[in-house]
């Protein structure tokens, strides 16, 4: 292992960090509470801040609220206060327009608005919010079946006027939420319990149908208790989407009460559909190549390590655009993006780790394979005119490159170099690892973020596992090229294990999906060359999975034992397949 490090070190070159100019201005897209909080904070810190809002007024959903639960605070006064802060902050408001076009990268984004104005910004905060789900056809929003049906948003309006029709009111939670890929909408439990209590205090007979009740915000559990004490009746419907569980019949709703295990009918004058949040499909996020999670909301870089950042540098996510949340959480996230953005904006230039890919344009033939695998849009094809002869090339946008190395592994002409993880350096490590009794060694490729940390975790947890593993770290499993695998087996490696973050957890958006795709091809190729599939494996290991890493290494040791017991294929067989 020392030899591996020494061999790599002997090939190290001094690297120079890049500096990029930083446009010290911020673009905040979306003027709901999250966007307002972010823009106010950034502008107050003295940065030129542009807030773009599609509607003619800022405020988002907050404009339609009467009372904020669970605290019961007055929504109008909060909006007035936030608006006052925003207006005096110096942020420039672009109302009634949208971002029509945006491109660029950290330090240098260019946006064109629907009005034709252009905005230059070093950072972008995406706070476009989410939409209330449209109630399904099963619940016609009108007076039908001898009862009236409204959404919780409409009820909020009625509550603000102090006039709600009907004597008996039934609220049904989770409309459009918690089905298929969509999760909990988070804001609604506290909100509907608060609405139910206000209705009860108006003298109504109030019933609340829930699937699960998640009163998690501070004071929400107390609000729930107060509502129960004051006579709101709570019913649990079966664990299926509300539209399947709760039926409207003339003058009543019917459902199966889970806690009584009987069908129940609630005579009802007013049915309130408590609607979940669904993601918008914002063009601006697409233009910036911001990933979306399986539920359709914008995906943060990492749930813990980068909760308010997008996968690409300089782009931040705030409010319900990133996932359903309540007002308090939206404002918190807005402020958090402002803090993160300000850390970048406070400098004239941004320094980047010198891991950025370098393309040798003398050998690059512009085939574009690398462009396809880059998750950050950091590779740009262009054409050069060499004495009348036009040829295609690809260049690296250094500001956008995150240094994962996925491009280098895909280059047929070896034109791409990833500093500190060059082909030569990695091959020197492979050679050193296998210089002595290679058949007894398991060569492991581990990514910097998950699986290398997972191996570390095994050590931290003092888990015993065989000592014949030899780990080579790369920034991302996407850096692992088939030439390293080939070299390892040529040198007689007992086994090769490629590891990386779990699909969906990749620190380079989805670079490891290429690892998965490539591995399927390599496995077949090497099997044809006489490498038994168990000697060449892929395993996703997270930073927390020390146990899993150790278990895999034990399994690989067994593979080696079995392999040694059987007659090993001669090394020439592998070479012959070249």
């Amino acid at each position: 292992m020392v030899r591996m490090a020494v061999e790599k070190a002997s090939l190290l070159q001094p690297l120079e960090s890049y500096e990029q100019p930083m446009v010290q201005a911020a673009l905040v897209v979306g003027g709901g509470p999250a966007g307002m909080a972010a823009a106010t904070s950034l502008a107050r810190q003295g940065f030129e801040t542009h807030l773009v809002e599609r509607e003619r007024e800022v405020g988002g959903h907050l404009r339609h609220l009467d009372q904020i639960e669970p605290s019961g605070a007055d929504a109008k006064s909060l909006l007035t206060a936030m608006l006052g802060n925003l207006e005096t902050s110096g942020a420039k408001l672009h109302l009634g327009t949208e971002v029509a076009q945006i491109d660029g990268h950290v330090g240098n984004f260019h946006a064109r608005l629907g009005t034709g104005e252009t905005v230059e910004a070093g950072v972008v905060v995406l706070a476009m919010g989410a939409t209330m789900v449209r109630p399904p056809e099963d619940y016609p929003l009108r007076s039908a079946y001898d009862l009236e049906t409204v959404t919780n948003q409409r009820l909020e309006e009625m509550l603000s006027w102090g006039r709600v029709p009907g004597r008996t009111v039934t609220l049904v939670s989770c409309i459009g939420a918690r089905s298929d890929e969509r999760g909990c909408s988070r804001y609604c439990c506290s909100s509907m319990v608060g609405q139910a209590l206000r209705l009860r205090r108006m003298g109504k007979k109030v019933r609340l149908l829930y699937r699960d009740l998640r009163a998690y915000a501070r004071g929400a559990e107390e609000l729930y208790r107060t509502a129960a004490e004051e006579g709101v009746a709570f019913f649990r419907y079966p664990d299926v989407p509300a539209e399947k569980a709760v039926r409207v019949v003339p003058g009543a709703v019917r459902f199966h009460d889970v806690l009584l295990d009987r069908d129940v009918e609630l005579p009802t004058d007013l049915l309130v559909l408590v609607c979940g949040l669904v993601p918008e499909d914002p063009a601006v996020a697409k233009m910036l190549k911001v990933s979306r999670s399986s539920d359709g909301f914008l995906l943060e870089r990492h749930p813990k390590l980068g909760p308010v950042e997008a996968g690409s540098a300089g782009i931040f996510l705030a409010g319900t655009a990133q996932g359903p949340k309540d007002l308090g959480e939206s404002i918190q996230q807005g402020l958090a993006t402002a803090a993160k953005a300000a850390a970048l904006l406070s400098r004239d230039t941004i320094e980047k780790e010198p891991l950025c890919a370098v393309i040798d344009e003398t050998t690059c033939n512009g085939c574009g394979r690398c462009v396809r695998v880059c998750s950050f849009g950091a590779l740009e094809p262009y054409t050069v005119d060499e004495g009348g002869k036009k040829s295609k090339k690809v260049r690296v946008i250094t500001a956008a490159c995150m240094g994962c190395g996925t491009c280098a592994a895909d280059c047929f002409r070896d034109s791409i170099t990833t500093p500190f993880f060059t082909d030569e350096q990695i091959e020197a490590q492979v050679d050193a690892a296998l210089s002595d009794d290679p058949a007894s060694k398991v060569l492991v490729f581990a990514c910097n973020w998950c699986s290398y940390a997972g191996a570390d975790q095994a050590g931290i947890e003092k888990i015993q596992y065989p000592s014949n593993g030899r780990i080579i770290r790369t920034m991302c499993s996407g850096r692992v090229s088939d030439r390293f695998i080939k070299r390892a087996f040529e040198k007689g490696a007992g086994a090769v294990l490629v590891t990386g973050c779990h699909p969906g957890d990749c620190h380079y958006i989805n670079a490891n999906s290429w690892t998965g795709k490539r591995f399927e091809i390599w496995r077949k190729t090497f099997e044809r060359r006489g490498i038994a599939p168990e000697r060449f494996q892929l395993e996703w290991i997270s930073a927390a999975e020390g146990k899993e890493f150790a278990a895999k290494m034990k399994e690989m040791a067994t593979v080696l034992r079995d392999h040694a017991a059987a007659a090993p294929p001669p090394a020439e067989a592998v070479s012959a397949g070249k």
């Binding site: 008996t168 007979k205 019933r207 208790r225 129960a228 004490e229 004051e230 006579g231 709101v232 009746a233 709570f234 649990r236 009543a252 019917r254 009460d257 806690l259 009584l260 009987r262 069908d263 129940v264 009918e265 609630l266 005579p267």
Partner: protein, 388 residues
Amino acid sequence: MPESESRPIVWSDELWDDLLRETDAGVCYQCGTCTATCPLAERGALNVRQLIRLGAFGSGVPGRAVDSPGLWSCTTCAQCNVGCPRGVDVVEVVRHLRGRAWKRNEVPAGLRPLLWAEFQDGNPYRMPPSQRTQWMRGLSGPAAGSSDGASTVLYVGCTASYDPRAQRTARALARLLAAADVPFRLLGENEVCCGETPRALGAQGLFRDLSSRAAESLRTAGATRVVTISPHCFDALRAGLSNEVEVVHYSQLLDELVSGGKLKVGGTPAPNLTYHDPCYLGRQHGVYEAPRRLLESTGAKILEMPRNRRWALCCGGGGGNMWRESDLEGRLADERVTEARDTGASVLATACPFCITCFNGTESAGTGRLEVVDVAEVVARAAGVSSA
């Protein structure tokens, strides 16, 4: 599935409001901790959580209340209240639901005559008021409650008045009070039932009627303090008399007298004994230590049962079950007596006439190795006072 099962239950807001007015069942979030700790649930006789849920629905379907799982089996032991994370008084809910059943005349056979007895005779035993003083056989002077002008009333209660076994406890207690120079009076023929049985059975109207009669006779006697023998009287008088009179259980009073040196105990130490917490003394009113201190003052060593204090197993006699044949498989009292015997004690002491009746009624109690006694009797022996 019967037809009533397939038709949906129609929710009644009126019954719901009714439940909210009389109980705190509204905050129940149906976690089921009550059922998990209920000794009857363990025997499949009662699902407390379901009962509360049913209560929320107001028993909208005819015939519901009487066949509610375990509504009448509940001994109101309040074990459910101990674990409830929402602090619901489940016993209150049971009483309320039973009350609803009365309104619809959906009650098990045999309970109606019991209430008539309470109404007409002022006791559940159908005994004439004239015989209320029979327990006093052999008592005279201060022990017979002859202290004129005394403001303390010894409230004997129906069981100790009429039940021969409980009469012994009453006599022991009367003699102890005399020995400690505590002047007290008796209500004699004018004593009426505290109404605990109607109350536990959900007959709220009759309970209120009886407790106002009890209050009246206490007022006439000029009582400022009432000492009860049965924890059930203790509970019902506390609920029915508001704050006009101080209600104490005899174990609290004796504990005060012994620790204040007014009542001398000593003599032969009692043998090893175990103590059973009556539900209406312990869980319902938090009196756990006074009876224990009394027993220990006699020099006895208490061998605790595994389930003691808040977790004491009910004898099975509460909630009207003294007057119903239990439909349980395996009586609670049998299990409790076995538990008591397993401590190695030769005496099972308790402080409730119902508990004593239930324990003496068990098959295993008859084997003679375990004597079931009242705490007052243990103290009387140690104080050199006749406990017969």
